[in-house]
């Protein structure tokens, strides 16, 4: 295991709130095993806006206290087995959300506001089970018009994977703006990248537009194919066979442990 990945994982302390991206946006799978080896538990995960393999593995490893998410699944490989088991056992505190509510909570944090109003949700059981959300009457309307308020989501740490960073600490995220939203909202942001380039990403307007400046970044480590078995946009596709292999293995606790004990291909 790479020393720099271990050092990044060591920044996580028990009880922290961790933001993780949706499977197609750039999941730092390279950080999953270092996080498990480090072992800081009681984590509250925020899936932006849904979770998959990484979330399932952190739950399987017993590091997770709560999950705020709009969904957790392995996509084409089916349901997330350790998540589903934990739900059935009542082993994790669930905060079911809907995708734009997670975005709204991060947006509030990004603006330094305490909440964001959001349409939809009225009459759903999603809302009914969220004691942290509020419904008010639209103050700009003459009467009625209920609207939901989503409190700001302030993760302690955001973790994601991107194609490249430069040696000045800037990270290129292209059009995956949810990665920027996660970083704006979080106190710290840990990033793994396919490669680190020598030139300044901000020096060229073409790359600058898709660059998250170093201001928001706490640490970066290179991790080639670091999203595997997920794909990384513009770089490589998803290894669905491996996701299926995991989905089968992780149906049982023992199968999960056996899978996780295997070496990860470089």
């Amino acid at each position: 295991m790479q020393a720099d990945l271990r050092a990044m994982a060591a920044r996580i302390r028990p009880g922290m709130r961790i933001a993780l991206p949706v499977d197609y946006a750039g999941v730092s799978m390279a950080m999953t095993r270092p996080l498990i080896a480090h072992g800081a538990g009681d984590l509250d995960l925020v899936c932006v806006p849904t979770g998959g393999l990484q979330v399932d593995q952190l739950i399987g490893a017993g590091l997770v206290r709560g999950v705020e998410t709009s969904a957790v699944s392995l996509g084409e490989a089916g349901g997330a087995p350790r998540f589903n088991q934990a739900v059935q056992d009542g082993a994790i505190r669930l905060r079911d959300a809907t995708c734009p509510a997670i975005h709204a909570g991060l947006m509030a944090a990004q603006k330094g506001s305490s909440f964001m109003p959001m349409r939809g949700l009225i009459g759903t059981d999603v809302l009914r089970h969220r004691d942290d959300w509020r419904v008010i009457d639209n103050p700009f309307d003459t009467g009625g018009d209920p609207i939901v308020l989503i409190p700001a989501i302030h993760p302690d740490v955001a973790i994601f994977h991107a194609p490249m960073a430069d040696r000045f600490g800037n990270v290129w995220i292209g059009r995956r703006r949810e990665l920027a939203a996660m970083a704006y909202a979080s106190a710290e942001t840990l990033v793994t990248v396919e490669r680190i380039v020598e030139y300044n990403l901000l020096a060229d307007e073409m790359t600058a537009a898709g660059t998250l400046p170093a201001l928001y970044i706490t640490a970066i480590a290179p991790a080639p194919r670091g999203a595997w078995p997920y794909g990384l946009w513009g770089e490589y596709g998803t290894d669905t066979d491996e996701l299926i292999r995991y989905a089968r293995a992780a149906r049982t606790e023992a199968g999960f442990a056996e899978y996780m004990a295997q070496e990860v291909p470089a």
């Binding site: 734009p100 349409r119 009225i122 809302l127 703006r177 939203a181």
Partner: protein, 250 residues
């Protein structure tokens, strides 16, 4: 008459339901809605532009503002149509994407509500699509409301369901009643079979029509351009479809 695959009937039906849309979005794990949307785009190409965003596609996704942009476009009123599935769908068009039994420790857990609790409210033409047509899926009352079929007066609700499409039939949704009406039965199925497989009450005409089938030109568009476009995002589904077509000829 060329034989037509059941999935081609579904794809064609979706394209029919999308008539007149300007922007349609397709969510995760939805090859048939994606193919139906691609067919609509191809059919309309000579006269008007249909914009299409397929989640997980690079080629058929023009959004540049991350995963929030789809929802923002819906909030702005730009998104005309979207698809929702559901582990359970009831006679009031309430959708459950969360699980069976008492929440939160549900005995069966599905992935979760995704964007349904927002898009069902904001997208004017939501098409409910679920291939499995059984009493397990089409229930009297859902165990968990991810998104409600209708809202009381005074709740902001420009969007909602217009139809429910399954492997057996097409239903239309009437939000005033509220409830479903059997619109047409797919070839190879009967009204009696549908009554048997549906767990909620619905209106049905005395003699329901058969679901329309694509003509030769539409079929060739579907098996040519649409199948090719679809393969980028759904290679496994496209390969399956090709295999079924090869078997038809043989």
């Amino acid at each position: 008459m060329t034989p037509i695959l059941p999935r081609e009937t579904l794809i064609f039906t979706i394209a029919r339901l999308l008539e007149g849309v300007r922007l349609v979005a397709v969510g995760a794990s939805s090859p048939i809605p994606a193919a139906g949307s691609m067919l609509r785009r191809a059919l309309d190409e000579p006269s008007r532009q249909v914009r299409l965003s397929v989640l997980g596609s690079v080629e058929h996704n023009f959004f540049t503002n991350g995963s929030a942009e789809l929802f923002d476009s819906a909030g702005q009123g730009r998104l005309d149509a979207f698809f929702l599935g559901g582990g359970q769908i009831d006679g009031q068009a309430n959708v459950n994407l969360v699980g069976v039994g008492d929440y939160p420790a549900t005995s069966v857990r599905w992935p979760g509500s995704f964007g349904s609790a927002y898009l069902y409210f904001t997208v004017p033409r939501v098409i409910l699509f679920r291939e499995e047509h059984t009493r397990r899926v089409l229930v009297e009352k859902v165990d968990f409301i991810s998104a409600p079929g209708t809202s009381p007066e005074g709740v902001y609700r420009p969007g909602g369901p217009v139809a429910l499409l399954t492997s057996k039939a097409l239903f239309r949704f009437d939000k005033a009643r509220p409830g479903f009406t059997l619109d047409s039965v797919h070839p190879g199925h009967s009204a009696a079979e549908i009554a048997e497989a549906t767990g909620f009450a619905y209106d049905a005409p005395a003699a329901p029509t058969q679901t329309p089938q694509p003509d030769a030109a539409t079929l060739s568009l579907m098996r040519g351009r649409v199948l090719t476009e679809l393969a980028e995002t759904y290679p496994a589904f496209a390969a399956d479809w090709r295999r079924d077509l090869a078997a038809l000829v043989a």
